[in-house]
């Protein structure tokens, strides 16, 4: 018998082993592909879970009957009537406080309507159901709600409404909105990008256009790659120690005559976030500058331009779309980051719009975190709504980045 038979089978046994080998191969190929199925399923479950939470039946009760305040149905009242109800039924101190925040006459009807519900009638949510349950088990839920809460009303509710986007924070989930959180996020990201983009681009220019391969520059390059991998919460600790504590006179604004805050301000958060995205911006800007063809530089040098003239007039304009794309990606990273903001001291409850870099703030992911960790299910519902807002924001940012990137790719 051929001693090599096992290694080089022939004839019938070869065909059999080949068949076996192909079967193994196709099974494994299926397994490899199923990794994607799991990824797709997870993504689907995540998105579904969020949407599922943001809509659905809610059983609620009026603490005070609307008929105590008005004879007409609440929905038919106009702005003036609502205003009158508030004026007569709120204590004068509470009314004055509201009036000081924003003149009552200038508020819209829907705001006043919400105020009547929130302050006077006082909604009390008993239980909420998810969207799937509400659709599939609608009849059961109606029976269940009628048994458990005979007084309560059952209503299919979308927790994500235009009002949700425009009302400030409230301690009641039914009346809470993300206005202050969105404004806080925008302020913070604005400061972060103003801080990080010029410095990051400058660093990238230095590393690609000026630096020769000496020790310092190698250390800088390695260091930037490492900074990109530092956990975000460590940046939060850095921000707490440096921006919040050491630079308190600057970040609290007391240097500029602002007195009512400590260092836990939008400015501190923005600078911390800027530090966090700096390595990201540098790495992306380096890629963009690297993509500018060398012939452009040589042409500029050839007609006698200095190094900076070459960079300013030829390299930067051509690298700009790439740098912008990188910065947009950095912005979307900054908008979603939560941990550093918690450490730097985002306020958990704040209902006044931030009015400058020295005000206290909250941010969209902070609100999501707060609401998710509450025990009551109505807070989970508004957390889900806030997540949808956040994801929509990120989606539009990334779409812009992709569009920009495609335009650049077409050029060369």
């Amino acid at each position: 018998m051929n001693p090599n038979h096992d290694h080089f089978p022939e004839g019938e046994s070869f065909r059999q082993s080949l068949g076996r080998r192909y079967r193994t191969a196709s099974i494994w190929q299926g397994l490899f592909f199923s990794a994607f199925l799991i990824a797709i399923l997870s993504l689907g479950a995540l998105l579904y879970n969020i949407i599922d939470g943001a809509f659905g039946y809610v059983a609620f009760d009026y603490k005070n009957d609307p008929s105590e305040f008005t004879s007409k149905p609440l929905d038919d009242l106009n702005k003036q009537e609502l205003l009158d109800i508030l004026k007569t039924n709120l204590s004068s101190g509470a009314y004055k406080k509201l009036d000081n925040e924003k003149t009552m006459e200038k508020r819209s009807r829907s705001v006043l309507y919400t105020l009547v519900l929130e302050r006077l009638i006082q909604i009390d949510t008993k239980e909420t159901w998810s969207m799937t349950d509400s659709i599939l088990r609608s009849a059961e839920i109606k029976v269940e709600a009628a048994e458990k809460y005979p007084e309560a009303k059952l209503e299919f509710r979308s927790w994500l409404t235009p009002v949700f986007l425009t009302t400030p924070m409230s301690s009641k989930a039914e009346f809470a909105g993300v206005r202050t959180a969105i404004l806080g996020s925008l302020w913070m990201v604005g400061i972060a990008i103003l801080f990080a983009m010029p410095i990051g681009t400058g660093a990238a220019i230095y590393l690609h256009e000026y630096a020769n391969k000496n020790f310092i520059n190698r250390v800088i390059q390695t260091n930037i790659n490492n900074l990109a991998g530092v956990p975000s919460i460590v940046y939060g600790m850095l921000g707490l120690a440096i921006f919040v504590r050491t630079f308190e006179p600057f970040t609290s604004g007391s240097m500029f005559g602002v007195t009512d805050t400590n260092g836990r301000t939008i400015l501190s958060a923005g600078l911390t976030m800027g530090t966090l995205v700096l390595p990201l911006i540098i790495i992306n800007a380096q890629e963009a500058i690297k993509a500018v063809p060398d012939s452009l530089r040589q042409a500029a040098f050839g007609v006698g331009a200095t190094r900076w003239q070459t960079i300013w007039h030829h390299v930067l304009p051509n690298a700009l779309p790439g740098i912008l794309t990188g910065s947009i990606l950095a912005v979307s990273r900054a908008i979603g980051e939560t941990a550093p903001l918690i450490v730097v001291g985002a306020s958990t409850f704040i209902s006044i719009d931030p009015d400058g870099p020295f005000s206290k703030f909250t941010a969209l992911p902070i609100q999501i975190y707060q609401w998710t960790t509450r025990a009551q299910s109505e807070f989970h519902a508004i957390a889900a709504s806030a997540i949808i807002v956040l994801l929509a924001l990120l989606l539009s940012l990334n779409a812009t980045a992709v569009l920009l990137r495609n335009r650049v790719q077409r050029k060369y």
Binding site: W28, P231, H380
Partner: protein, 311 residues
């Protein structure tokens, strides 16, 4: 009158010596400073964390034996055993890697060895979307989807806050990172190796597993290490879903606070400076920073060596 070139008063012979241009030098200095700022940031992290950690370890109550020898962590009342925070960090990270390494590797093998360019262009964005979702959203997902799911499968033993759901969801979060880094490593394997295997009659699967995968092993190792580093430093998922309060356990169905989760919870309140709580957080953060730094450096070292081998 005919003036020669030399008689022209404005004529200067062309100077080829490098001129000192003040503006240019200033700009170069500014740009260098921008680049150097990154070094400064690293130094600032080490200095600030080190300073407070030094204060923490300098406290007469905190001894080395207590720190590494006891299993209760509550600095406010003089309990300084770091282990409960470490074990939960290890547990969640281990679960995350158990989920993300096989899945990420399988996805990478499929993308680099099997997928047509068209399939790749539709499958890759799915992973990119997963990578772009903020971690606090994963936290919501872990608490309100994964935990009820685990409770339905494993019954009452699963606590509302537990390390398993946080770890699994963290694995899903890290999956894109591991798969994209592994795919880079797999595609860097020279074509000649694959062609050689095919010429010997190997099937595609045999080529991928027995030839390409071993050749890319160091790059995959680098991906694994980066994955571990990301899992150790991840905060929001564990802060939301893994539980509040240190707990010395390896049981994944119990609640236990990780190092990052602890920092997030304690610093979330109005923390006053110069207390033992404040300095202890910096000690934990310093440990986190050093661990992730070492992991990142190792990973980068592997990648650099690997790249040189094939270029």
């Amino acid at each position: 009158m005919k003036a020669t070139l030399m008689e022209n008063k404005n004529f200067r012979p062309l100077e080829l010596k490098k001129k000192l241009r003040l503006g240019e030098t200033m700009i170069q200095t500014l740009l260098f400073l921008a680049g150097f700022l990154s070094i400064f940031i690293t130094l600032a992290i080490v200095y600030e964390l080190g300073k407070e950690a030094w204060l923490f370890f300098g406290d007469p109550d905190v001894t080395f034996a207590k720190f590494f020898g006891t299993t209760e962590w509550s600095p406010g009342i003089g309990k300084f055993g770091i282990w409960p925070l470490v074990t939960s960090t290890l547990t969640t990270s281990f679960i995350a890697i158990c989920v993300s390494l096989p899945l990420g590797l399988a996805a990478a093998l499929f993308l680099s060895e099997y997928a047509s360019p068209k399939a790749r262009s539709t499958l890759k964005p799915i992973l990119e979307i997963l990578a772009g979702i903020p971690t606090v959203v994963y936290g919501y997902f872990a608490l309100l989807f994964m935990t009820p799911l685990l409770q339905r499968i494993f019954g009452e033993g699963v606590q509302v806050y537990n390390m398993a759901s946080a770890g699994i969801v963290m694995g899903i979060m890290i999956l894109p990172l591991i798969s994209s880094m592994s795919e880079d490593a797999l595609s860097a394997v020279p074509r000649a190796l694959r062609e050689g295997a095919y010429a010997m009659g190997a099937t595609k699967f045999e080529t991928s597993i027995q030839v390409v995968l071993p050749a890319a092993l160091s790059g995959i190792g680098a991906a694994l290490i980066i994955g571990i580093s990301r899992a150790v430093g991840e905060t929001m998922i564990v802060a939301v879903a893994a539980g509040a309060g240190p707990n010395f356990t390896f049981n994944p169905f119990q609640a236990a606070e990780t190092m990052t989760g602890h920092i997030a919870r304690i610093s979330g309140g109005d923390l006053s400076y110069n207390t033992i709580d404040y300095t202890s957080l910096f000690a934990i953060a310093l440990m986190l920073f050093l661990v992730t730094l070492v992991l990142n450096l190792i990973s980068q070292g592997i990648i650099n060596r690997f790249r040189q081998r094939y270029e």
